[in-house]
Symmetry: C2
Subunit: 346 residues, 2 copies
């Protein structure tokens, strides 16, 4: 479409800083005739302390009017653990049914990895976003006593698993290597494991050109450090995806460059794009945060909205920038943003 109506949620900590650069690059990359409208929303710790609110029904109604959402980071040590996570981040994912959590991992030229020998890394994790142990099912009895019992229920439905598995097969088919790996723990979590495995096998039959395999989540962490090149597309459960994508980010250049999309492919609701990193309060306000992950999240956003050429321009600019930067002294948040904006405008 020839206009983008974007909700912008800078959020907490470094969120403000990195989002500013993301928007700078977005403005620079868009052709003249694509009209960009943005509206800022104030969510996160400040609003929670001021009003006690995290995300109201009215907020959701307002956000729903947008084509997409760009988020910086939400979270602050002043807020009890879980309040903003469950009350904002997960509430938004569930309300807008963001069932495809897309997290690409690519080791870009010049970027350091903690792994010896600079292996080639280029894979995408498709993490389920609305089920598993993230549903908030469970509870506590006899709280605070020596007889307390706390449960967490992982909920897995054929509907929920099949749609994300299909999405992953389609993404695998569109890539040169056409390989899809299911990551689960089906030898222990046999109820959910069988559901995932059966649906994976069923859908695989429709994609004879996609090579498939299965790896337990514990073994997957081993491969991620010993042979990350073996992965092309991974599809996995919400919790396993959370864990392995942080590891994936770490081995492919760090969370400073890890982008993500919380996608509802149906377009019934706006999808949300954000860096994998958090609000990093320790370096907030110092112009030190690397905005690259946010800029790459903008590229995912553009691709989701059908602006593929612009998305590719951003990704190429980041590659070129990082290649040049390799070994150079660190630059400030806005220096990096400026450099990328200049490249994509070029």
């Amino acid at each position: 479409s020839r206009s983008i109506n974007l909700a912008v949620i800078p959020g907490d900590g470094i969120g403000q800083e990195v989002v500013a650069e993301g928007l700078k690059v977005l403005s620079a990359v868009l052709p003249q005739d694509v009209k960009l409208e943005t509206k800022d929303y104030d969510f996160g710790a400040r609003r929670y302390h001021a009003t006690g609110e995290t995300l109201t029904d009215a907020d959701l109604d307002a956000l729903k009017q947008h084509d997409a959402i760009l988020l910086g980071a939400i979270g602050d040590p002043s807020v009890p653990s879980g309040v903003l996570e469950r009350g904002f981040l997960l509430k938004l994912r569930f309300a807008f049914d963001h069932h495809v959590n897309l997290r690409p991992s690519k080791l870009l030229p010049g970027v350091a990895t903690p792994l010896a020998g600079q292996p080639e890394i280029d894979f995408v994790v498709v993490r389920e976003g609305t089920e598993g142990p993230y549903t908030g099912n469970g509870g506590t009895i006899r709280k605070g006593t020596e007889h307390e019992v706390a449960t967490e229920v992982s909920v897995n439905t054929a509907f929920g698993v099949e749609r994300v598995v299909r999405d992953a097969f389609a993404r695998a088919q569109a890539r040169p290597r056409k390989k899809l790996t299911l990551v689960h723990k089906n030898n222990v979590l046999t109820f959910a494991g069988h559901l995932w495995t059966n649906i994976f096998t069923k859908v695989a039959a429709e994609y004879p050109d996609v090579t498939t395999d299965y790896i337990h989540v514990d073994a997957a962490t081993i491969y991620l450090v010993t042979d990350p090149g073996r992965f092309d597309v991974i599809v996995t459960d919400n919790l396993f995806g959370d864990i392995i994508t942080d590891l994936a980010a770490a081995v492919s250049g760090g969370i400073g460059v890890a982008a993500s999309g919380n996608i509802n492919p149906s377009r019934d609701f706006p999808s949300m794009f954000e860096p994998v990193h958090g609000s990093a309060p320790d370096i907030a306000g110092q112009g030190k945060a690397d905005p690259t992950a946010t800029v790459l999240s903008v590229a995912l956003l553009l691709r989701h909205l059908g602006h593929d050429a612009e998305a590719a321009r951003i990704e190429d600019a980041v590659s070129a920038d990082l290649a040049e930067r390799g070994g150079l002294p660190a630059r400030s948040t806005s220096e990096i943003g400026d450099a990328l904006a200049a490249r994509v405008a070029g």
Copy 2:
């Protein structure tokens, strides 16, 4: 005690080979006056195919008579996923209440790590072994239909969490750095997360000399590859422990050298010691498997039974052997066992 009555479960694949070397080293290290009795048990794929049995009540009664159990590996591709895991490995852990799953990670001299720069690594994971999502709670409705729902319930009790947290504090206090890290996901799994966090905080007050911190499981995987030296003792849930200990093994030399104990500190039941690796059917019967992880598991076994000096002799022998071996061509399973046996007998 001056005698050890050991149940030996070679199991599947390379289990037989590595256990033989473990026993070789055990015999060599024990002083003349410690009587070692061993009894072999045939569990795993062969028995399952022959009889349909994995672990019967009679088996448990027999195993219960021993001071400890040494296991090689259980698991074979010919058996459907989950059957031996739930029917044997987990059944044994639950029946004998092996609630402390002890997994040390130490990067030994000369051992290659996939991490750049050979960082120092020396930590221990205390993984809860009898609760969490491993309980087998949950189920499936409308199986095989498009309306299937499969659940997995993570069960966490104050009793179960407190005993393993206490065990971890005691272990941390006994180490030079006296540092204990709780790994969980308390910002999302808030029911279980609060229970773990509250008990951890409560017990911490009794150990003022132990430094504590908390890390989300996803972030823990990042630290394990970027700064593994930050860890001393980690205490965590059953599933998180499963995942991070495979990663920990990978960064500290691979699962070829990763030992583990499934411990019931009460001694009401025999504890079980096993290498972290599996049955590796692809290399079974070729004399290629590295028995080091099994030998180090024997050291854990000896320490559990109070033979600390002998345990230390084995660990020192492994360090010396690996230091010497660094850069040398690979040796066969029995060559490694012979070398270690010779050293500890020394």
